[in-house]
Symmetry: C2
Subunit: 400 residues, 2 copies
């Protein structure tokens, strides 16, 4: 009767566990103020241009209703995306290749739906948990093997200091490859030529790359690709996911989009057609107000204001990175990413360091092992906090 | 590589086909004004109380960000739902049994995820296409048999004039039963004692009822249940879906919720736990603004304003029903539902009547056969238009 795959999931969702631990600590220590640099949630208010757009949109629907939105998103938003995120970088993406969604997380969990259940899936280790869990729920991941902390049927690509946190081609050829750059959780990036190698590999083997570019706005170095479609041949092998959460503070407003190129054909069928069918049947579009808010991100004011927010978070990330390095921690990330990835001191496990930091410094971060066994011995801090809080967290860590 | 079930779907989504036909007609006849009484989309502007709430919410997030929403929805909204939709009717539903979503369509397509792929599914015929198509996409519906216009592995429960458009217990015992009352598309309802029989049946057989109460606000008669939980024992066999689309004009704003009672246990597991897991992994909550807008529906102003809107649409439905009856059409629905269900004249098929009405009266409705073979020879008109348009449509139909 029930889908038994649900019972195979080990423990609770990482961020739910962290939330519970922090809540318990707060309740036991009501006098302590906690600094949260754990979950990847933003802290600055929504940009004025975005708020103004929401106001306008609310007024509009108070005068004349906007009915069911298009399954793919309003043309005004898809046109802005096409122009600013792609055409401006010399990439030709049609608006009928862009699918607006209520946040990239949903699509990163749902994209698997259009593939066969016997597809072999490759993920990085450490990895954003949704890629793994969503495949586990439909049985594609096999069984969870407790002692290995891995699923029996997934292909894991270790990303550790020894390979510069960049995955290597797996021994077994996968059908689906999830890649996320700039990476969550490690904050690492790969260069355009490295990504080109993955595109060539996928085109040669017939694999499909699901490329998560949610952190694209944080790229500061020139040889780091903003879109996988900067690579030659990517349209015949890659789906790209984008988010408004991190570049424009939409974590609580929910907006993202997915690019499925028409040229991406498998088993003689364009995946664009399949995904449109998926959205028509399983989705009903995104709120008009939210899409109007999204379009405001691409106005001159919106671009200037959100760029400032990204710079603010990046200043935090640099502060964390440099501060921890000065204290003798081994750190990476924080250059093209709001995430700083640090080695836990001595022989501490990730969760030991989590508890240590929470108890001694009242600072919340994310244990690397929560993202996979290769994350063990690592810890993630984010630049998404307030600057004052970031300084305070560093001062406290210094004292312990 | 690809999910081959996608290739089994016959033709395009019903409302996409209608949209295309109307577009073609408009382009060929630019001088004709078309009256749309087809798709179940509302026509009145959003209620002032709802618009005001959106304004306030926009201002709030322009001052201090609201981060990731709870997976289950904000407590303020779930508390309002609990009080007004359930406690006020003497039904005890906990807020941890309420899951807020971005429109009931998504959950009506996704609820199948927590059940095994070999579950046997029963649907009414005619039926809201999403129940069928979402099961077809995961293979649960079997193969589409063109000559029968039915899927090989679904159990169909005919709802026609001969049984008062109320389904009868199927011969084969299903695991999952989709029921929608007041019904889309027929506009029919069943009484509380009839629904109690279904609850008893499910509790006896172990089946789970997925009860779609999206049109609950349109109930005018006293013996028609607003919630399946009015029936004794429903908490151990039923999931209920609700929508803000039809009662408060949220078709373009996207908000709904699903109730999964904790007492609903199958294979020794509470489905509430499974659905929470589903939402944690595959969903990231609904926009703060939209949830604030939803909560405004439950304020005294919001309730008064949306009640007026429902009354407006019901006046339309009555006008259509009575007007068509006067012209000699056989009609049903329109009493506890915004939908009027009419018999096509003579031997006309549903699509023939669609074309006839579009060409001769420039009125758009929905062919009954689009909802299943037992809908053949029927046609759906909705009360969701403007009153003037409704009168105009009737006048035109009278002339042809």
């Amino acid at each position: 009767m029930i889908n038994k795959n649900y019972l195979k999931l080990p423990g609770s969702y990482l961020f739910a566990t962290i939330g519970r631990k922090v809540k318990e600590f707060s309740e036991a220590n009501p006098d302590k103020t906690i600094v949260r640099l754990g979950i990847g949630d933003v802290s600055l208010p929504m940009a004025p241009a975005v708020v103004a757009a929401m106001h306008e949109a609310s007024d509009e629907i108070g005068k004349a209703i906007k009915g069911y939105p298009d399954y793919e998103g309003y043309e005004f938003l898809r046109t802005a995306i096409r122009e600013h995120d792609f055409a401006a970088r010399g990439i030709d993406i049609g608006i009928d290749e862009i699918f607006v969604n209520d946040g990239a997380k949903c699509d990163s969990a749902d994209l698997g739906d259009i593939f066969s259940l016997d597809c072999k899936v490759a993920v990085c280790d450490p990895v954003y948990p949704v890629y793994v869990d969503s495949n586990a729920l439909v049985g594609r991941a096999g069984d969870y093997v407790e002692e290995k902390q891995r699923w029996s049927n997934l292909i894991y690509m270790p990303c550790t200091a020894s390979n510069g946190f960049a995955p290597e081609f797996p021994e077994e050829t996968p059908d689906l490859i999830y890649l996320c750059f700039p990476n969550n959780p490690t904050g690492a990036t790969i260069t355009k030529s490295q990504l080109q190698e993955w595109v060539d590999y996928a085109n040669k083997t017939g694999a499909v790359i699901i490329f998560d570019a949610a952190y694209e706005a944080y790229i500061t170095e020139t040889d780091v690709p903003h879109s996988i479609y900067e690579c030659e041949g990517a349209k015949t092998c890659a789906i790209e996911m984008r988010s408004f959460s991190k570049n424009a503070g939409f974590t609580g407003t929910r907006l993202g989009y997915t690019v499925v190129p028409k040229e991406l054909v498998r088993d003689d069928v364009s995946l664009n057609t399949l995904w449109l069918k998926h959205q028509e049947i399983k989705f009903n579009g995104v709120s008009y107000m939210v899409q109007k808010a999204g379009a405001a991100v691409y106005t001159p004011e919106g671009m200037a204001q959100t760029k400032e927010q990204v710079a603010y978070y990046m200043k935090n990330a640099r502060t964390i990175r440099d501060g921890l390095a000065d204290m003798g921690y081994t750190v990476s990330g924080g250059v093209n990413s709001p995430y700083v990835w640090l080695k836990t001191p001595g022989t501490m496990t990730s969760w030991e360091f989590f508890d240590y930091l929470l108890e001694k410094a009242n600072v919340v971060g994310t244990p690397g092992s929560g993202f996979g066994p290769c994350g063990e011995g690592y810890f993630r801090l984010t630049g998404f906090g307030k600057y004052e809080d970031t300084l305070e967290a560093l001062a406290r860590i210094k004292r312990i």
